[in-house]
């Protein structure tokens, strides 16, 4: 038998016959088993070739882009930096907006108060004392004894006033005391700072009905604070037969460690 090379006509005829068979058989489905065998055998090879060719193409592409790659990295880094700064700025703006919204709601709910917003610019250098420094003073119309609040409740009162700043004694300071009343029972007492986060309501007689979660407000007695400012909520009540008064712990809704902006009740003139 001669080689295929010596019989090109026969080879062409066989291929043409195959082509014709394919054209005729594929629509009828008779070619499917043969196709399955071919694809089963060739699929792994096809995958390997595709994998290699893709890597080569990417490699060539990378080499081509190598000149511009560093510039692209720098450009993307700049974009990331810009977006990070923008993200931080937006987060700050969101916090500020929330704070301003709360202040606005407080102002709308208390239209009779003349309020002045102030930024907290410093704290007392001692951990045992609870004072803050705000960026408003006599030049802004502030005076000694003016109450300071946030939308969450009473913060304290101004104890020293300078031309452009003021010192505020927080409710938590041990020297702070505010005449208060329980909203539901109208029982009166004095809220004192303890040098820690919570406050103590003293001088409430044993026969007064005080429940946990009762709201504690300023009573306005003694004229140091206006009436009905929220101080906090009753957290615990201790009654004792041998004591004249109840021992009541009050939790303020104000986070005294994270004060950033406060409101000064300018219209209120304390009686000293």
């Amino acid at each position: 038998m001669g080689s295929w090379r010596s019989r090109p006509v026969a080879l062409v005829l066989i291929l043409l016959a195959g082509l014709l068979a394919g054209i005729l058989l594929r629509p009828t489905g008779y070619l499917k088993p043969a196709e399955d065998v071919v694809f089963t055998l060739f699929a792994p090879l096809q995958y390997s070739f595709h994998w290699v060719s893709t890597r080569i193409t990417r490699g060539i592409e990378t080499i081509r882009q190598l000149g511009t790659l560093q510039a692209r990295v720098n450009e993307l880094q700049q974009t990331v930096d810009r977006l990070m700064i923008e993200n931080l700025r937006l987060r700050e703006a969101e916090i500020e907006a929330t704070s301003l919204r709360e202040q606005l709601q407080f102002k709308l709910a208390n239209p009779t108060y003349e309020l002045l917003a102030a930024e907290v610019i410093g704290r007392d250098p001692s951990n045992l004392l609870h004072y803050i420094l705000i960026d408003r003073g006599t030049e802004d119309g502030l005076a000694l004894g003016m109450p300071v609040v946030t939308a969450r409740g009473l913060v304290g009162r101004i104890t020293t006033v300078y031309p452009h700043s003021s010192r505020v004694m927080l409710l938590t300071d041990p020297a702070s005391s505010v005449n208060a009343l329980i909203q539901s029972s109208r029982a009166t007492g004095v809220v004192q700072g303890q040098g820690r986060g919570d406050l103590t309501l003293r001088y409430v007689e044993q026969n007064e009905q005080v429940q946990v979660d009762d709201i504690v407000l300023t009573s306005g007695l003694a004229g140091n604070f206006p009436k009905r400012l929220v101080i906090g909520q009753v957290r615990t009540v201790q009654r004792s037969d041998v004591e004249m008064f109840q021992e009541i712990v009050v939790q303020s809704a104000v986070d005294f460690d994270r004060l950033e902006t406060v409101l000064v009740l300018q219209g209120f003139v304390p009686v000293d």
């Binding site: 610019i121 250098p125 951990n127 045992l128 004392l129 004072y131 004694m169 041990p174 820690r196």
Partner: protein
Amino acid sequence: MTEGSAINPYLATASLLVIALLQTSAMPSLSWLGVMPDLMLLVVVSWSLLRGTREGLLWALGGGLFLDLLSGGPFGAATLSLALSSVITGMGEFNVVKDSLWLPLASSLLVTVVYNVAYWGILQATGRSLHTVYTLLRVMGPAIMVNALVMYPTYWAMRWLHQRAS
């Protein structure tokens, strides 16, 4: 410790003023459990360890006055508490191994207790009734921790200043 040549008084005053302002403005952001590091105390103690009791006491008096000006508490409370802390650091200086790596840490622990107890005593004496045990533990416990953490950076910064001044 050997005492070097005295530091320029203007530089010392400016440094103490900056430290006092940092104490009231930047330190609250490093608070842990509501307690901030006593930067001025750590600076005074570091200076006492590096330059001796005399200079340490001078810094305690100068720094204390700035703190008292910025504080709402009784005037002199910070100055006296810092001075006492400085003197006690100076006394301990002769009894511990000099140049020990642990010396700043041990000093910060000791003076945090001394400073807070002294300050608390002055507040009590001036009519501010603090909830004794709770307040001391609530303030002193976290203060010991935060001061220990801030002590080494402070000590290294003061050592740099000490070497520049010598």
